[in-house]
């Protein structure tokens, strides 16, 4: 393991006790487990969640995704299990089979919460079980159980069968059939969706993990936490995107559907267009009329942005709605919910699944009917016929047909529901994202579309390089605290640093946390560089520089200017401490106290 003493000497540590300081290691090859007390210096440096998970992934990052020694990591944050607002999430991390880069997801549900109550901050799983197995954790007790009876079983069914054992993280049949964008589902409906982490679990023959805890997560100063939490809730109440009449609280993430449509940046027909006329009748209102949904959500959250219909149908998130309607030009509402159900049950990322179907539709020239969408998704999950090719993701599929440019992906991961020609910060953020085309790493939609904290010009690259870099650092912190990013529409690290101080008993500030976020994100660039990623991989598909989007309603959507894009990217490299090829610079690593990583 890397020695971090130099970092501490450089004053990069802020003294803080984070979490229990206890990691569970499970080796599926030997069937053994052990608890590790984390070096407090390490947990101070990397906070928890994404930051701490990366600490365990770094030494193994060059391994193949199916190498038994590659860890699959579940890591809670220092606030998880406390009443800190929206802190009930967890980071799942490994190397992505889809991209070959670092792969991590922040996922809701009760897994992190139960883990912390069991007295554990994280689980590092290595090895391969000889037979399909599950890990069951109940406070101190850890066992590896045979899961042969669950082979091929869908994620919801598994959750129903195992929920008495606590929170459940599991894979579905898609992962068992080698789908490169297979997910890990938590408590039935919360997805660690992107990058194919489900396949890493499958390659270890691990079908599920359950965890149940009965402890109480300690809080240093309850009163201070209550007040800091109140500050956050007050700001959330003042944020229309969250608690307004049409914000996430009242309409779920589907609230974004109308907005993205009327900003003329809804990816349509595999990104050949940016406007989908039927969208008006497929919005949140239409879903609410059809399903009369109730809201639910993650632990410790009062926004509760998830939706379940009267009949138990789980309603799709914005990304899923967008890709299973506009992107594949489907006008049928129930086909969208059915596609969502199939993906969740089979354990597949809805964004990559929708985008892969769109790529297939463009290449084959086939218009996808609702029945055909269902058929293809079931085939992908089962690894059958055309489905087995499509299960490799859009890039490999398009390459196999000799037209790789028609895969709308970055680093092999498909773009989500925001056309980059409609938000230039998003265009930059897609390529600088360490896990492939991801809207959440820098989340420029926040300022370019939702006007938070203030609006920026969405059709300009000016100033975006630094904005993207700072936002990446900030979101790396948020994923390390394992807090929900949506809350950042209303508040900032200023408020969450007070929450963290209240929980840990050690003063910290927003800027201390941002410095930690910078180290965490830089380390991800280091990991990707070790895996051979360069500036060639930090690029958008050629379509976005050559073809215009669907202008109208007084909004022009021209193609992106390649020179402006490249200039913004090279500014980003300078700010992030990378050379012209996107490789981490030694002197910058030294400044961050991370030279030992290189």
């Amino acid at each position: 393991m890397i020695q971090f003493k130099t970092l501490l000497l450089k004053g990069y540590s802020y003294a803080m006790t984070v979490g229990w300081g206890r990691i569970l290691h499970v080796d599926l090859s030997s069937g053994k487990h052990r608890f590790e007390d984390i070096d407090p210096d390490v947990s101070r440096l990397w906070i928890g969640g994404k930051g701490l998970a990366g600490y365990y992934l770094l030494p193994e990052i060059t391994r193949s995704p199916d190498d038994p020694a590659l860890p699959l990591i579940f890591m809670a944050g220092p606030l998880t299990g406390t009443p800190a607002p929206a802190s009930g999430r967890i980071c799942v991390m490994s190397k992505s089979p889809l991209t070959g880069a670092i792969g991590d997801c922040s996922v809701g549900g009760g897994f992190g919460w139960q883990l912390k109550k069991a007295g554990i901050d994280g689980i590092v799983i290595t090895g391969v079980s000889r037979r399909l197995c599950g890990i069951e954790i109940s406070d101190e007790n850890v066992s590896i159980e045979d899961a042969g009876r669950l082979e091929g079983t869908g994620t919801n069914e598994i959750y129903s069968r195992l929920k008495d054992k606590g929170s459940v993280a599991c894979i579905g049949p898609a992962a068992e059939h080698g789908v490169l964008f297979s997910s890990i589902m938590v408590d039935g409906t919360f997805a660690a969706g992107r990058g194919g982490l489900g396949l890493v679990s499958a390659s270890k023959n691990l079908k599920y993990v359950t965890v149940h805890g009965t402890g109480v997560v300690p809080v240093h100063d309850q009163e201070k936490l209550r007040k800091a939490g109140e500050d956050i809730r007050r700001l959330i109440a003042a944020t229309p995107a969250l608690t307004g009449e049409h914000g996430l609280q009242n309409c779920g993430t589907a609230a974004c559907y109308d907005l993205i449509s009327c900003r003329r940046m809804m990816p349509t027909a595999n990104f050949r267009k940016t406007f989908f006329p039927p969208a008006q009748s497929m919005n949140s209102h239409a879903f609410a009329d059809a399903y009369r949904p109730k809201r639910y959500g993650c632990k410790a959250c009062h926004v509760l942005c998830k939706r379940v219909g009267e009949d138990g149908t789980h309603l799709p998130e914005f990304e899923t709605m967008s890709h299973f309607s506009a992107l594949i030009e489907n006008e049928n509402l129930s086909a969208v919910t059915e596609a969502n159900r199939i993906c969740n049950e089979a354990g597949m990322d809805t964004i990559s699944a929708g985008a892969t179907l769109a790529c297939f539709s463009e290449i084959s020239g086939e218009k996808l009917t609702p029945a055909r969408i269902t058929e293809l998704l079931l085939d992908i999950a089962a690894g059958k016929g055309e489905g087995s090719e499509l299960g490799q993701g859009s890039l490999r599929f398009a390459e196999s047909k000799g037209c790789s440019d028609l895969s709308m992906s970055v680093k092999g991961m498909e773009l989500p529901g925001y056309d980059p020609r409609g938000a230039y910060g998003m265009a930059l953020g897609y390529v600088t994202s360490t896990r492939g085309a991801c809207h959440l790493r820098a989340y420029p939609i926040s300022h370019e579309i939702l006007r938070k904290p203030v609006a920026t010009d969405r059709f300009s690259f000016a100033g975006k390089a630094r904005i993207v870099k700072i936002a990446e650092d900030m979101n790396a912190v948020i994923d390390s605290l394992t807090v929900c990013k949506f809350f950042l529409f209303g508040c900032s690290l200023e408020e969450y640093s007070s929450v963290l101080s209240a929980v840990t008993g050690t003063e910290t500030s927003a800027q201390d946390l941002l410095a930690a976020g910078e180290r965490i994100y830089f380390r991800e660039r280091v990991m990707n560089a070790k895996c051979g990623f360069t500036s060639d991989d930090d690029d958008l598909p050629p379509r976005f520089f050559a073809e215009e989007g669907s202008s109208g309603d007084g909004i022009d959507i021209p193609p992106l200017n390649r020179e402006d894009f490249l200039e913004a990217r090279s500014k980003y490299y300078r700010i992030r401490g990378l050379d012209g090829k996107g490789i981490p610079l030694e002197n910058f690593a030294e400044e961050l106290g991370l030279s030992e990583l290189l």
Partner: protein, 386 residues
Amino acid sequence: MKKLLEKYSAKMVSAGLAESGNPLLGGLDAELEWNREDPAIPVLEEVFGGLSINSLLFSLPAEPYRSIIDYLASGDVHSIKPEDSETRTFMHDLPVIRDFRSDLIIEKLRKRKSVIIRGKGIVTWGTVSPEQAFIFYSSVCFSCFVKFFSDYLRDSRRGSLSREQERVFRNALKNLDKYPDEPPALMSAPFGNREDVYRAVAQAGRMTVEHRLVDSFFGNVSLKWGDTLFISQTTSSLDELEGCIDPCPLDGSACTSITASSEFSAHMDILRLTGMKAILHGHPRFSVIMSMDCEKENCEFRGSCHIRCPEPRFIGDIPVVPGEVGTGPYGLSNTLPPAMRNSRGVIVRGHGLFTVSGEDFNGAFRNLLSIERMCREEYFKLPERI
């Protein structure tokens, strides 16, 4: 970036927040740019080096803010605690230091959005745009103004006014904004098409700013036309509403209000309850100050009166209600609309003034101006009475 820096420098001057030539703004993308040369730049460059930000603002406030802030920051004050609810929510408190030194500035800005350097000015930052730095600077000026005049009333009552307080008060009086005798003529109803509606909303916003009836250019404006509410977007600057107005169907069939003002729900309920069509919301200072004035020093709700005060309150004929921004349990969306039912305006305690009128903004603007004028007159009567 340079254009943005110059834009916000000019806005500070036009809003009376700084004297011409004083605002110094820096913006950092890959390179650092300033709106002008200044000897303070080397120190501020060190501040940029110590913080993860993209913009920085340093300026000496114009009068009366300068004397007021110097007074509030005098003695061994380490931070000023604003009492208006908007600043409390977004800024928490306003740290104060004595020396213009990068290490001291960095230390404070690591935790807060502004730092006051006694006698020298205010430093604020942004992570996304210089607009944030401008907003934070403006909020410091506004909240200190409100606090000073509120404290003056309280201390008059206690008989504990200091000479210095009196001196600053008299000086501030000389620099108060003058209100026009007559409100400006705004576009009048009926509006023939959507474009006219957009223009009317933008014009009402711009006039509210030009008459200095808002803080940080924020507030909100809406107009009902047909079956749609046209409302200013959240964080939009009221003097630049062109392109920042959301058309929201009254039947809720589209979620376009997701970017609308945080007071969207309150606007909708006001329309439903009053049948009026035009709503204006600003933060005129004396309306805010008077709404916070209370003689009950030992009240059990002290410290949280902006959300919990149970007393029915009026300034003249205008009701004052508790409530904070947004839709939370103490949100003004619960208290404001019912109070508006029989009134030409309502003041939300420590926050701002909402006014309404029937078909266009002329009545709402007249109400905004006349209520603020009344509050100012009431304010200056109070110390005399005391």
